[in-house]
Symmetry: C2
Subunit: 232 residues, 2 copies
């Protein structure tokens, strides 16, 4: 793709670093991610890696962005197979895609949605854009459902007027005419969905786990649709 062979070699090395980093992330977890180990697997001395990656934190950021991208792609692929007016189906498809991806890549999922890695703060300017893909996909479903008159959340008294400060992107996407309780219901569903998924992936259901996590998740999806007010 790029001009000089040096450029191509650099791009390939860069991709190798991310690939090896993801492998180590999957096997050892986020905080055990070691630039030296990546260098060893790359067949190179540790200081050479610093020609490509400024620091361990920057490698983490690369992996965060990579993870968001992959998750976003998985969600988009899942949405392609559901009719545009099947809003319950679309929401469920997003949820199932996130869960499946998280179960397949638990370490990356933990990096994105688990507790923050100590001493590491994801730089907002690089991660927010790909990081909002999932929630934007959800918001799009809810927004379209509302426009189609297929979303009527059970009202909960919305008191605070400044409740939805921030969320500029989401607010813009969902449309200014959507009432606040719909937005509140959406935020609840968003957090609750990731709560269900994280609970399962992080093993909070206990050492024995639940008998049939897939079936339980499907039940959760039904309650989730009800909570957000989606009409089938």
């Amino acid at each position: 793709m790029a001009g000089t062979p040096r450029d191509r070699a650099r791009a390939r090395t860069m991709a190798d670093i991310v690939r090896i980093g993801r492998q180590h992330l999957a096997t050892d977890g986020a905080a055990a991610l070691s630039l030296r180990a990546v260098a060893r697997d790359l067949g190179v001395v540790s200081s050479a890696v610093y020609r490509y990656v400024k620091s361990r934190d920057e490698l983490l950021t690369l992996l965060v962005v990579d993870g968001y991208d992959e998750l976003g792609d998985a969600v988009d692929r899942a949405l392609d197979e559901v009719a545009a007016d099947d809003f319950v189906g679309r929401q469920s498809a997003i949820a199932r895609a996130v869960r499946a991806w998280g179960l397949a890549e638990p370490a990356t999922y933990a990096l994105l949605f688990g507790g923050p890695v100590p001493g590491y703060r994801a730089p907002a300017e690089q991660t927010t854009v790909p990081g909002t893909r999932v929630v934007l996909a959800l918001v799009r479903v809810w927004s379209e459902a509302y426009a189609a008159g297929r979303l009527a959340p059970p009202p909960a008294e919305v008191a605070s007027p400044g409740l939805l400060a921030g969320f500029a992107a989401v607010r813009e996407e969902i449309g200014a005419d959507v009432p606040d309780d719909v937005v509140a219901a959406a935020l609840f569903a968003w957090a609750a969905l990731f709560g269900c998924i994280s609970w399962e992936i992080f093993g909070q259901y206990g050492p024995d786990g639940v008998g049939d996590p897939e079936a339980l998740f499907e039940l959760h999806l039904v309650r989730l649709s009800a909570a957000v007010g989606l009409i089938d």
Copy 2:
């Protein structure tokens, strides 16, 4: 409490180690927890700490147990101030106590409910008992509410019969006569509650955050009661 002065000194040193460890946990996070730094703050050389704590993982386990205990105490204190038959109030009190404690101790909260710390697996035999205090408190509320005829979750087709394998303690506590959809609703509420709290504490609402997180949480509580089927 203890016999020889040596025993008392040991107990005090042990408590100091946990206290200093919690301080470092709060300031630096879980994976940055360093036995050497704890030793420095304790005014002792690093190898001396190994007389008290077998490894860094064991210190983490101590902090996990400590955190579960403190959270459980906070929940119990909150429950003391709500009438026994105010089931919605009791569930909300538990939820607010967890949220308040998590906001006050985000690092410990992350240690308990965030992604797993790399390379560290909490030993089940020591952590499961204090770790179930919160969910058992929730289950008690739901169980009593069901017995009082004040819990009627919107049904979601419960298909899989082996869905609730595991959960021996919870099953025993909630009673065998509780139908499966109530248990499923409880599991949903449990995971969704911690999803809402984690979402806020881990900053997933975005860099700008939400305008009034406290008010939003109260709205979430209303939806949570509705989802679990609690009748006010």
